[in-house]
């Protein structure tokens, strides 16, 4: 366990070190990439100066709304589809092929419908995240052992109590996976949308720096996105592992 962590750390550290060397000796040209140490310094300065805060707030609020909507609507849709097998059979092929559809193709349509503001990027983030939530909610509900529903009946539990005390906790690991994926997909959707037509946000700032050949800001922001999203996912991954270990999973 500890060995695996050390190996991961060594892989990341080694890659950073190699990049640093390649940039420092000029094998990777300065206008292509700056050394990782310079990225870290640039990011530090951006964070300390506070210039990043308004864009960070814009992006994170967009992601938060997209995630919250995806979790709520995804969960309710998953529960509805589980309860109505005929509807599920009809929609199953759409879910199976959903991620083959480039959701960004709808971005112009969203702008026409909602205007050039934060709504289109939230919708794109939501569209990316919601199906992961639906599919994982369905997986979770499918895997509730039938004997637990019988157990609920032997305890004279109402339908509401059965859902709250038996079905949801039993399906929780899969629903949790849905939440984890929804957060990751919402980030992709929102930050990606900011690249295209937004006028604020981390994605917009990366795009702006790229168009102005400002490699320090460009790479500092890329580093920020990587570290921030990895930290969130690492936290969720550790939490998920703790839940699964307690339940006898891996």
């Amino acid at each position: 366990m500890r060995g695996a962590w050390l190996l991961r750390l060594a892989t990341v550290g080694g890659t950073v070190l190699i990049l640093e060397l390649l940039c420092r000796v000029g094998i990777i040209a300065g206008f292509t990439m700056i050394p990782p140490s310079q990225m870290a310094t640039g990011l530090f300065q951006l964070l300390v100066s506070g210039t990043l805060l308004p864009d960070l707030k814009t992006t994170l609020s967009g992601v938060a709304i997209a995630v919250a909507a995806a979790i709520l609507i995804g969960f309710l849709t998953g529960a509805l589809l589980h309860a109505v097998p005929r509807l599920r059979r009809t929609l199953d092929p759409f879910f199976a092929s959903y991620y083959a559809v480039p959701v960004w193709a709808f971005y112009p349509l969203c702008i026409v419908l909602f205007g050039l503001n934060d709504v289109p990027k939230v919708i794109i983030g939501f569209l990316y995240a919601v199906v992961a939530m639906i599919v994982n909610t369905l997986n979770g509900l499918d895997r509730v052992p039938p004997v637990l529903r019988k157990l609920a009946r032997t305890h004279q539990m109402s339908r509401g109590a059965t859902v709250l005390l038996i079905i949801l906790p039993s399906a929780a690991p899969h629903i949790f996976t849905g939440v984890k994926l929804a957060i990751a997909y919402a980030f992709i959707g929102v930050v990606g949308s900011e690249f295209i037509l937004a006028n604020a946000g981390i994605g917009y700032q990366i795009s702006f720096a790229y168009n102005n050949f400002d490699n320090v800001i460009l790479y500092s922001l890329i580093l920020f996105i990587i570290v921030f999203v990895s930290a969130i996912n690492l936290f969720l991954y550790s939490w998920e592992r703790a839940i699964l270990q307690r339940r006898g999973g891996r």
């Binding site: 004997v147 019988k150 038996i166 039993s170 006898g248 999973g249």
Partner: protein, 271 residues
């Protein structure tokens, strides 16, 4: 106390259960069958695979409604609802994976709004009774299959049911553990005074544990015969050494052999 001297706690009259299967032919699972189970009796059911043993248990428990006939528990028809006073232990692991052993056992008491101090007393008592005291804070995944089944039995016992329905609770256990679990069930039966209805596919288990054994036919399941064991109430797995035990087991097998062959589609002597 003998079964004959006690009043009937469970009464089944002309009970049938038919499963509708959409457009295909309905499946006649059990019946018609009649059965009286006396208060405090240990009654077991054996029968070939698929004969409807578990269906019978579900009908008695109120988990499934009889398609015909009537089922009454302590004089009240069950009508497809599990009445208060009945506890069920299922064949499958039904521990709640997200709760500790202690919380699993306390689950039903909390649902009923029992006071915290009373919950603690009863759960601790049952943990001691079932030899689970050292595992109170463990999660089910950290226990063996046998211990998880003990948690399920404990969760049922803590509610002090008057009728305990056991659906092949030791099915997944090895022979030694089965025998020891059988001893524990007998001890609990004596200590609690509850009526026990056990479904099993193990003839020796039925012969060892029961006051009476109902032998079921191949589907649709009916009682071919109800065999009285005549064992004293104070008994344990060592009764297997008794010569009557061998006679009893072979009597059960002789009743079951043809039915088991029928269930498997083999030609029988009668055919």
């Amino acid at each position: 106390m003998t079964a004959e001297a006690s009043e009937a706690q469970v009464v089944l009259q002309n009970v049938t259960r038919v499963y509708a299967r959409g457009a295909t032919r309905p499946v006649h699972a059990i019946g018609p069958l009649d059965l009286d189970i006396s208060k405090g009796e240990f009654f077991s059911v054996v029968g070939p695979s698929g004969c409807g043993k578990s269906t019978l248990l579900e009908v008695i428990a109120g988990l499934a409604e009889a398609s015909g006939g009537s089922v009454a528990f302590e004089g009240t028809p069950t009508g497809g609802k599990v009445p208060e006073g009945i506890g069920v232990v299922f064949q499958e692991d039904s521990t709640l994976a997200w709760l500790t052993v202690w919380d699993n056992i306390a689950f039903g008491l909390r649902r009923r709004g029992v006071a915290a101090a009373e919950i603690k007393r009863r759960v601790d008592d049952v943990l001691r009774l079932m030899g689970l005291r050292d595992f109170a804070r463990a999660y089910p995944a950290q226990l063996s299959g046998g211990m998880r089944q003990r948690v399920c039995i404990a969760r049922t016992l803590v509610l002090q049911p008057r009728l305990i329905l056991l659906d092949e609770p030791f099915g997944a256990l090895d022979q030694q553990t089965r025998l020891l679990m059988g001893d524990e069930v007998l001890r609990l039966w004596r200590e609690t005074g509850a009526t026990v209805f056990l479904i099993t596919h193990a003839l020796d288990e039925a012969a060892m544990l029961s006051d009476r054994v109902g032998v079921m036919s191949a589907r649709p399941g009916r009682f071919l015969e109800i065999v009285k064991t005549g064992w004293p109430r104070e008994r344990d797995s060592r009764i297997a050494a008794h010569e009557e035990f061998g006679r009893l087991t072979s009597r059960l097998w002789s009743l079951l052999r043809d039915e088991s062959m029928k269930a498997l589609g083999y030609p029988t002597a009668a055919a």
